[in-house]
Symmetry: C2
Subunit: 262 residues, 2 copies
């Protein structure tokens, strides 16, 4: 049965880095499809080695886009697509995701032989196209990337509200460390309070910048490193994970209270 | 002639802190209205001393909201309103701004005696309600808050695209420092390349956290401090500013190139 995973989190928190490295790790054993759902359209750059054309810009110039105009193969044969987003100020930023989902279904890209599908989704607002991957037909498990910083946990809490609203399943919280004091403890307590758990802790590492500069993942460029091993372990914990829950988000005042304790 | 200013920037970059402190500074000489347009609805907390009810939640429970149910007076008699936002996953996150603008016009809150109006607007996506303050009838000058970090400049560039699309005017860039290497130089170059300029540089200061903890602005709680003086100077430069331009945003590749140089 295909594992369909959505990765959400505040813009800039580290989703694309984590998604690309997880995909690289999975590629050893499974057929993987990565779907970028962030208007930044850069999830797949470190897998394909360059920025690929987005679905939105492709359908804009030709109504009948074919598979090989939007689907690209990257490291380890990982299949890659980018939804893209409209120009700011021109309609809903999430429109790219909606257009992309329709096209992927129409072109039969969600094919039988896929074993892992990973969505990388902007989480600063959980509305319009950005909430579409939360629907059952797209992803059945959601993981939220956060650090110990107030703003990223605030966004994580908002994403929990979206997950609850759309009756989707939260599989766990990924702590992408930013060097905050007591970071893992704060994120752990947050996870516990929303009825979830930490599924991985990713330390800061300059190998991320080094491999990113060469448009590669850490798993590809530094396979022997501790950081690559951490991404592989994260991919494994998520693949083995069987505990899901509809989250219990913090109310506005409770959230403020939670933070005041730290 | 009323000065109508919109402050945009990536979530968490420091807009509300800057807006509240500018308003506190202006309150000495002018009649000021602050309009929070971020679903976080916390722009006015340090002016009023507590979180105020949002327009969206107020109209939800009673169709005919009156002035004193949505308009609150804060430090220095600054008038405060919060648009609010719907629950994540429930329609457009910017819907609160649209509902708020309609109500403020209907209740005549944009009255003759106002000398400064400041909008504090979420800038992670520039769509739906979040692009409404860019329209001429609301704000005639836009300032973008950014740090030297890639993600905040990426958002700043997106906001420039939105400003250009809606034919609004960029008055300048506010650098809210995060301690990045060569931060002011990076932000200065960015400003220059989009056809604008830096109008203020705000250092990191623990007085921000200290006054925020007491739900006050730095200008109110530490009026003699260097930080308070910096906010007052920023308010003054913005008030005196006569140079505006439709920005020239970076293309996606140019932006990557710009950053690679640093
Ligand atoms: N574990 C890490 N260590 C060091 N840098 C990181 C790490 N994770 C992410 N980064 C950096 O943070 C920035 C944002 O990461 P990215 O994955 O693009 O975020 P998102 O997709 O959430 O917007 C990138 O420049 C990336 O190099
Ligand atoms: N100059 C500064 N020095 C120290 N902390 C700051 C400064 N500006 C903002 N902050 C902190 O950063 C956080 C986000 O600021 P805020 O004004 O709420 O951002 P935004 O309104 O853009 O989301 C707040 O906790 C605030 O205390
Ligand atoms: S639904 Fe969300 S992404 Fe779409 S216009 Fe509204 S705020 Fe923007
Ligand atoms: Mg990304
Ligand atoms: Mg704010």
């Amino acid at each position: 049965k295909t594992k369909k995973i959505a990765i959400y989190g505040k813009g800039g928190i580290g989703k694309s880095t984590i998604v690309a490295n997880m995909a690289a790790a999975y590629s050893q054993k499974y057929n993987v499809l990565v779907i970028g759902c962030d208007p930044k359209a850069d999830t797949t750059r470190t897998l394909v080695g360059r920025r690929i054309p987005t679905i939105l810009e492709t359908v804009k110039r030709k109504k009948d886009a074919s598979n090989d105009e939007i689907l690209f193969e990257g490291y380890g044969d990982v299949r890659c697509v980018e939804s893209g987003g409209p120009e700011p100020g021109v309609g809903c930023a999430g429109r790219g995701v909606i257009v992309a989902m329709n096209l992927l279904e129409k072109l039969g890209i969600f094919s039988e032989d896929l074993e892992v599908v990973i969505y990388d989704v902007l989480g600063d607002v959980v509305c319009g196209g950005f909430s579409v991957p939360l629907r059952k037909e797209f992803a059945d498990e959601v993981y939220i990337v956060t650090s110990g910083e107030y703003m990223s946990l605030y966004a994580a809490n908002n994403i929990c509200k979206g997950i609850k609203k759309l009756k989707s399943n939260l599989g766990g919280i990924i702590c992408n460390c930013r060097g905050i004091k007591n970071e893992v403890e704060i994120v752990g307590r947050f996870a516990e309070r929303v009825g979830s758990k930490i599924v991985g802790v990713i330390p800061r590492s300059e190998l991320v910048q080094k491999s990113e500069y060469d448009a590669k993942t850490v798993v590809e460029m530094f396979p022997e490193s501790k950081q690559a091993e951490i991404y592989r372990k994260l991919a494994e914990s998520i693949h083995e994970n069987r505990e899901f829950a509809v989250p219990e988000p913090f109310g506005a005042d409770e959230f403020e209270e939670f933070f005041r304790k730290f």
